[in-house]
Amino acid sequence: MELLSGADMITRFLKDEGVENIYGYPGGAALHIYDALFRQDHVKHILVRHEQAAVHMADGYARATGKAGVVLVTSGPGATNTITGIATAFTDSIPMVVLCGQVPSVLIGEDAFQETDMMGVSRPVVKHNMAIRHPSEIPDVLKKAFYIAQSGRPGPVVVDIPKDMTAPNERFEYVYPKKVKLRSYAPPVRGHSGQIRKAVDMLMSAKRPIIYAGGGVIIGGASKLLTELVDRLNYPVTQTLMGLGCYPGTAKRSVGMLGMHGTYEANEAMHHSDLVLAVGARFDDRVTNATDKFCPGARIIHIDIDPANISKTVGVDVPIVGPVDSVLTDMLALVEESEIEIDQAALDAWWKKIEGWRTVHGGRYEPSTQDSIKPQHVIETLHKVTKGDAFVTSDVGQHQMYAAQYYKFDKPNRWINSGGLGTMGFGLPAAMGIKLNFPEAEVVCVTGEGSIQMNIQELSTCNQYNLPLKVLLLNNEALGMVKQWQDMNYESRHSYSYMDSLPDFTKLVESYGHVGMTVNKLDELESTLEKAFAMKDRLVFINVYVDPKEHVYPMQIARGSMNDMWLSKTERT
């Protein structure tokens, strides 16, 4: 039997759980835990410059690996600063455990120094939260936190730890709990076999099928199975913003992203389909456009681990609640056994139609000129220079959409962005979390001059921990997406969407100890990127001035159907 203080139990548990890196920021209520961290050498702590960044770092790690990221912060402002990061992870179903210090139990409710009701504040944006009420509970509560965070539909779990729970002089028995007992929580382990059979029959008899794959495929570790299914059936597949990479983006059967800034062919194919197989996707408003006009001729099969996602926004014909990997395995087996022959003539005609749609827009944009670099061109150049194999994180706005549209992701877990919440300031710390855990990999944060300034202080953390990632800034000297909406909906009244008084980014990053590069002219673009990515051991920040007037297209027309789109500033469907 081993006797440990609450603080030592926490670090010991993290070691036993296999956690290598945690991200955080110390403060009064967490100091016992920080002292315990100091006295061990299994768990490494990364000191960020702002707690929000610690959460995004943990999030980036979780998105790249599927394992829970771990955050440690103090009470009060330390805890509240994590909220945006927690909400980001919650909206995208990312596993995470956030350990928050709290004022000593006797002071709770007395408006003590740095006291915040973190249980109450975090409640709407967590999968679950728990408070430690006795030090001896620590191993079990932490085990529950990891289990809940990583099972079922994953999500963030907050553990609130009053300071007296970690007091160094009170020791309790520590045993690493191998199992969790939770009578009120049982995530589904398999889909309903009758429903799966029905779905396969519908799938095999469809004439104009499309597979609509979301982030759940990646989080559920089912990208290989999905690829197998798509290739076996020879059906077109479209991915959501969160699903990019679950099927190779450069492969022919991929029609690209769907939705608000989806490809013309993906949105047309969805609209004209007679069968939609939705896998790990949640019919988000940025995908469906007006739900009453969504895919009018299609029957819908929906695979999702969360029953609350079924028929939440769009009614479905065959719901299958279960983990995507298990359901797809069952489906593949039934496809092999099926006696229904796919109508090849209909499928050929369907593909012909899709090939026709591909030629209508095809991701075209006005070519760059020597003095006006198109942002899309920058992303295509990035793809070329990194051979399409980098981890690409992004912030939120036009640059995010360009990266999603023009960096064709062939692998899952490589495209890391805040899809659901749309959190500016996400990209840099997320990239840091990935670079730290994948030191050999190429990691690049595609950002805008608005977003990057929301967490730019983390360049200091990058220096401290030697994180030689790359930052690619598409600088249009404006909040581009806001400006685009103002151009389109508010007669170009650019209300507070300009970015005046920008810093000299090169000098700024140099002062943080990194390398800054600037690109103004087209003929410098590729060579500068080559040079930057050749500097393997340095963080290079590349500031590329791009055409400030450019808009993201296609763009769905609000309250229309899937295929009501603007294709350029002057053409619409």
């Binding site: 249980m119 109450g120 999968k127 939770l182 009578r183 009120s184 609350a308 028929s311």
Partner: protein, 163 residues
């Protein structure tokens, strides 16, 4: 449509706030809410009456089920069920009013549970419509104070909501 949703909940601090928070977060409506521990003190039984379209009710039950501390739940209005609410009413009772109120209380099978020279305190139980009807029956202006417990409900017959 009005629904009665009955929930078995872990009897833990904060569990109730999650249920209530869910309703406000997702813009669902709570008409009444009652909660108390059950014979198994690790569990609370919570009854909420709400209204909404079938789609909304389906979301409410699914979202409630997602809460880690919700053990089980049932929509009682889907089957035969019994619902009761308890009400305590203070009414002005002087002179001829005293006899009239006693008669009304009898008709509603209520009880006068406290008396003084000018006030009766009346207890009435039943479904919510009955309690509304009682208040309407007492002459206007004589009701001084009303306390209602909110609805509690249970399914008829052998159906039970338990572990």
């Amino acid at each position: 449509m009005r629904r009665i949703i009955s929930v078995l909940l872990e009897n833990e601090p904060g569990a109730l706030s999650r249920v209530v928070g869910l309703f406000s977060q997702r813009n669902y409506n709570i008409e009444t809410l009652t909660v108390a521990p059950t014979e198994d003190e690790s569990l609370s039984r919570l009854t909420v009456t709400t209204s909404g379209s079938d789609k909304v009710i389906e979301q409410i039950t699914k979202q409630l089920n997602k809460l880690i501390e919700v053990v089980k739940l049932v929509d009682l209005t889907e089957g035969a069920h019994i619902e009761r609410e308890l009400m305590l009413v203070k009414v002005k009772a002087t002179g001829s009013q005293r006899a009239e109120i006693t008669r009304t209380v009898d008709i509603f099978r209520g009880q006068v549970v406290d008396v003084n020279s000018s006030v009766y305190t009346v207890q009435v139980t039943g479904n919510s419509d009955k309690l509304d009807a009682f208040i309407r029956s007492v002459s206007e202006g004589s009701v001084l104070e009303v306390v209602r417990s909110g609805v509690s409900g249970i399914a008829r017959g052998e159906k039970v909501l338990s572990l």
